[in-house]
């Protein structure tokens, strides 16, 4: 049995397990201690507590110095006070010192209103800064997806933990010391020249405006105002499960209907759904899976298994940078964003008699890596990208606010046809485990020729970083692996590299939780219950759908009949598949 300890915080007694920190104990009895560098996503394997910022200091009876609550472990009989005059004074001093080396451009900062430092200054009632700081400046670094403005860095190092420990990407590290200390790629190169995958988890946890996404919302506004352009929008599944948070709704509130209404009010000519393309992905990827599986079962020794999903651009960049030797293992199917773009700019443009250059495709994504993905050369035709702009859930909320749309009172609306029709299988692409469950629903029926009685594969669901499950394909056992978070993906990839992988198929998502925890989502401020609530909402949307298997989407059938032929056809390959590159940096020429 776990040993327990009794302590008192602000005269309230609390019993905790041995090893609990004062900060965690206080949270247990709803005593809020402010933190800046500390960050934890409970049950999701994300923890960062360097004890560096000293904002969380508390008074402990019998101890001379104030103690940082985020790293101080409780001891029996401990008597803690979290809000004495001495504590508040120390906190103010700490925050004032941080502010003395921080720009004062809050009003025009991208993080205005969502910045942890700003909130801290507000909560502490700071009206004056008694210290003259260095106001150190660094050059701004803009990449296709992420902007680094290190003047605003407070050296909390949360991004460093995400990039190195959670994602094992190793693009960012704390460098130099004193006022010159900053978080940067090796040799202070631009992010673009580092192994950065643009997963955006650094952006998702940055407490200030030091790391933000490249904002394309103004380009979208300009396109909407241009009478020559037909503007088409697609929305990713995870967006509808999180957008409401930006308008004060409880986490996990589904806003699919309000979102489509808002997009129409913003002036988009066609409001479509990335989910349609997710169904299409299942047709292509599922066919590829079955094809490889059948060859394998027929004794073909050259066939590459396991097959890996390829929907997530952060993950694609990860294996291109870190495991280029495995680049022929992932499915060649493009991501839903890119499949949508290709179908819109070819099939749909033809259908409405438009030149593809007059069609502007905008995607709303929970992701910052999608900004990079859309800019990849292979996804353009004569310089015209299949997806012209990709904006995050957060950017969409800004557009809605700018247009003074009263989001909360909007009537529900529906997506347009044909590219707005989707199934429950497509919706669950938004969470870890969803893509492989969707693929299983379709692959099972095609492989066995039988009707799937129960479409819910509970064994594939959950929040553990690495999960495995077996699915019975009518006597044939299919072994499935799931990883979310690139550090977890790395473990499965190392196994594949060593020939030890037991799986037939693996789903990988770069972000913890999958797209619901994406770098472009409303900020979770370290509260993992928000991500879990979004996951619940995704499964709720799936359960409420009339059609829950991708291959039963009538407009997918129509697309194949009218245009593509069948999954894996030459035309499908041309428009819906891709290839990968070795992007590993080598300094020593071999």
């Amino acid at each position: 049995m776990q040993e327990t300890i009794n302590i008192t915080i602000n005269k309230k007694p609390v019993e905790v397990e041995k090893g609990t920190t004062v900060y965690q104990a206080a949270r247990k009895i709803n005593i809020n201690i402010p933190v800046l560098c500390y960050m934890e996503l409970e049950d999701m394997g994300v923890k960062h507590n360097p004890g560096g910022c000293r904002v969380c200091v508390v008074e402990v009876e019998g101890v001379k110095n104030l103690m940082p609550s985020c790293v101080t472990k409780c001891w029996d009989g401990m008597n803690v006070k979290t809000n004495t005059a001495r504590v508040l004074n120390a906190r103010k001093t700490v925050v004032e010192l941080i502010l003395s080396d921080h720009p004062f451009d809050c009003l025009i900062c991208a993080k205005n209103g969502t910045c942890d430092l700003q909130k801290m200054a507000q909560d502490l009632g700071i009206r004056e800064i008694h210290y003259q700081g260095e106001q150190s400046t660094y050059r701004e670094d803009t990449s296709p997806a992420i902007i680094r403005e290190m003047d605003k860095c407070i050296n909390c190092r949360r991004c460093e933990t995400m990039c190195n420990d959670v994602q094992t990407v190793g693009a960012l590290s704390g460098i130099n010391r004193g006022f010159e200390a900053v978080v940067a790629p090796a040799f202070e190169q631009n992010l673009e020249h580092s192994p950065c995958t643009y997963c955006g988890q650094c952006v998702a946890v940055c407490p200030t405006g030091a790391l933000t996404e490249v904002d394309h919302s103004n380009h979208v506004l300009r396109a909407l105002a241009d009478p020559q352009k037909t503007v088409v929008v697609q929305t990713a599944p995870a967006v509808r499960a999180a957008l409401g948070e930006e308008f004060g709704m409880e986490a996990g509130t589904l806003v699919t209907g309000k979102m489509t209404r808002a997009l129409r009010d913003l002036g988009f000519d066609y409001v479509f759904d990335t989910d349609f393309a997710a169904d299409l992905t299942i047709m292509e990827e599922g066919t590829e899976l079955l094809d490889r599986l059948n060859k394998h079962l027929n004794g073909d020794k050259n066939v590459k298994l396991p097959i890996l999903t390829s929907c997530c651009p952060g993950w694609v960049s990860f294996f291109e940078h870190h495991f280029p030797e495995l680049k022929d293992i992932p499915s060649t199917a493009r991501s839903p964003q890119q499949m949508f773009g290709a179908v819109a700019k070819n099939y749909f443009a033809e259908k409405i008699n438009k030149n593809r250059k007059d069609l502007v495709v905008v995607s709303i994504m929970p992701c910052v890596a999608k900004k990079y993905e859309r800019s990849r050369e292979e996804f353009a035709n004569n310089g015209d990208s299949d997806v012209n702009y990709s904006i995050t859930t957060r950017e969409l909320s800004h557009l809605i606010k700018q247009a003074n749309i009263d989001f909360n009172t909007l009537e529900d609306d529906d997506f347009d046809k044909p590219l707005g029709e989707s199934t429950g299988a497509a919706v669950i692409f938004g969470t870890t485990g969803g893509v492989i469950e969707a693929a299983t629903r379709t692959a099972y029926e095609i492989h066995t020729g039988k009707n799937l009685e129960k479409v819910d594969f509970e064994e594939l669901r959950g929040m553990e970083g690495i999960r495995k499950a077996s699915v019975d394909f009518d006597g044939q056992e299919i072994k499935i692996g799931i990883a979310h978070g690139l550090g977890n993906a790395r473990k499965l990839l190392e196994n594949i590299k060593q020939g030890k992988s037991e799986f037939h198929a693996i789903e990988i998502m770069a972000c913890p939780g999958g797209c619901i925890g994406g770098g472009g989502q409303p900020l979770h401020h370290g509260d993992s219950s928000i991500i879990k609530a979004r996951q619940k909402a995704i499964y709720q949307e799936d359960a409420g759908k009339k059609i829950r298997k991708s291959h039963e989407n009538p407009f997918i059938k129509e697309l194949y009949e009218e245009y593509l032929g069948k999954p894996g056809s030459e035309k499908s390959h041309d428009l819906l598949h891709t290839h990968y590159f070795d992007r590993k940096k080598r300094w020593i020429k071999k």
Partner: protein, 163 residues
């Protein structure tokens, strides 16, 4: 931090691999590996850090982070006669700063830089354990105690005729 571009030969690469192996390619031993590598090559240019990163299984960004954090590590080659001025507490209060300024003035280089002819470089140290001799200056392995700004030209003169 600026760096010098170098072209590494296979034997240099092998040497770094050998050093890393001495420490079992352990990520925890990064600082030791960097120490030994700098001992051998005299400095740690980007190309060398890249190999150290690979051999110790630490990201190149982290390696660069460590190299830029500790003043002992340098990305520029030191001079043949590296001058180290102790600016630890004892030396500092006894005037190390003025001695340092005099070296910088006479040689026309800043801390962490190397003179154009490659002969001298200036670095600061934190306490060499000879506080009784403060302020202390080292040139290579040779130690000079109770140095005053007036004595700087005599120290430099000792090396002027040397290669």
């Amino acid at each position: 931090m600026s760096s010098v571009k170098v072209e590494l030969h296979q034997k240099d690469v092998d040497k770094i691999k050998e050093i890393a192996k001495e420490y079992n390619n352990d990520p925890e031993a990064l600082i030791n590996v960097l120490h030994s590598t700098q001992d051998h090559f005299g400095y740690l240019p980007a190309e060398i850090q890249e190999i150290v990163a690979e051999e110790t299984n630490v990201s190149i960004a982290k390696v660069y982070g460590v190299v830029t954090f500790y003043s002992f590590f340098t990305m520029t080659p030191k001079g043949r006669y590296p001058i180290s001025i102790c600016t630890g507490t004892a030396c500092y209060v006894r005037g190390a700063e003025t001695v340092l300024e005099e070296f910088k003035r006479q040689l026309g280089i800043e801390v962490g830089e190397t003179s154009e002819n490659g002969k001298y470089s200036i670095n600061c140290l934190r306490c060499v354990g000879a506080c009784g001799l403060a302020p202390v200056v080292m040139v290579g392995d040779k130690t000079y105690g109770r140095v005053s700004p007036d004595g700087v030209s005599d120290i430099i003169a000792e090396y002027e005729d040397a290669e």
